[in-house]
Symmetry: D2
Subunit: 120 residues, 4 copies
Amino acid sequence: MDIKHYQEELARFAGERDWDQFHTPKNLSMALAREASELLEIFQWLTGEQSCAIAENSGEAARAAEEIADVLIYLLRLADKLNIDIEAAVVRKMALNAQKYPVALAKGNAEKYNRRKPRT
Amino acid sequence: MDIKHYQEELARFAGERDWDQFHTPKNLSMALAREASELLEIFQWLTGEQSCAIAENSGEAARAAEEIADVLIYLLRLADKLNIDIEAAVVRKMALNAQKYPVALAKGNAEKYNRRKPRT
Amino acid sequence: MDIKHYQEELARFAGERDWDQFHTPKNLSMALAREASELLEIFQWLTGEQSCAIAENSGEAARAAEEIADVLIYLLRLADKLNIDIEAAVVRKMALNAQKYPVALAKGNAEKYNRRKPRT
Amino acid sequence: MDIKHYQEELARFAGERDWDQFHTPKNLSMALAREASELLEIFQWLTGEQSCAIAENSGEAARAAEEIADVLIYLLRLADKLNIDIEAAVVRKMALNAQKYPVALAKGNAEKYNRRKPRT
């Protein structure tokens, strides 16, 4: 996925509509959180298993795909406005996660690293 | 950005830690919304202008980059679990947005398409 | 619970700290969403049953109570800033919900009223 | 506001619809976060000043009141399911906030207490 290409398309789209005045990082963070919560709505009353089964339900999968796209669109736009290299940020964070969650401590255990009880 | 590559790395990371039991689409949607709200925390008391200035503040920009990475990591993982082609979803959504927000109606106007007042 | 009393206490607290400049409805909606997502963090990797068991775990219950308080504090503050009578709003919404979710249609069915499939 | 009364009404409403199966604390935290984000949608493209002016706009104020009610309804329900005394939690949290944000340090300064730079 050519991140830069989509960021340019989105910038052009906003520019044509005179929307840069609305697209501050602050406002984009609100729109992003809003779209992320649309995914909550899809899954909120389902069991974990039912949420997996959505992959086989073309209507619900299409709905989820649309919300995922909305989140990514605002994320690309926000990163662009903040001059953040989104792929480099992911690489850095994945390296950090490998340090915070070593297999020996994290196996079968989803506790946040800073809440993990010491093992003896 | 090679989406598939990162999805495979994330799947390997989760698999080694026996975390697939936790990574249902339902739970991932919660983690995603949680991380999106970390971005809200960065911007919540800032004005729009101050939020733009974060791009020049290396400490705050790094903090924002880390939260953006967290959101993207969970988004990649969720799309993977639902077999959603994230780039195709973005392309479809951008085409849909072009229809819902024609320049003539949307210029300088951030109203949601289904709340737009008719113009005469 | 004397809503007005707490709203006055919160207004006084903010006033003493010169925080009214930060407490616009926009900013308060961000802080509110942020605090709501702290509850997501508590529950995100738990099963539904495990989430119920938190009531018996004094540490986790206290953590949940603190986040619930944070949400309510921002909600009281936001309603105050918008001159919204929060109790009247709840009464109105509960009446509306009774109309949208009649027992005959909603029994055992958590679908949103506007997504409900017609029954024959 | 008689918190217990509303919690009993909501429990009755859910019971009649056989919705207790859906109302785990986990699921309620999702619904709560979802409703909180509806408030984000109202304010996301407004300036701080415009967000204040919503109090004078009866249509938008009614929309905000409905979303505030939705948040409170789920919050009451969640507290009930976790046996949390919501008023006592608010009292405790307000006392804690008074300690974390003493006027001398917090005046005109919205920084989170654990990010506050030392003053000399």
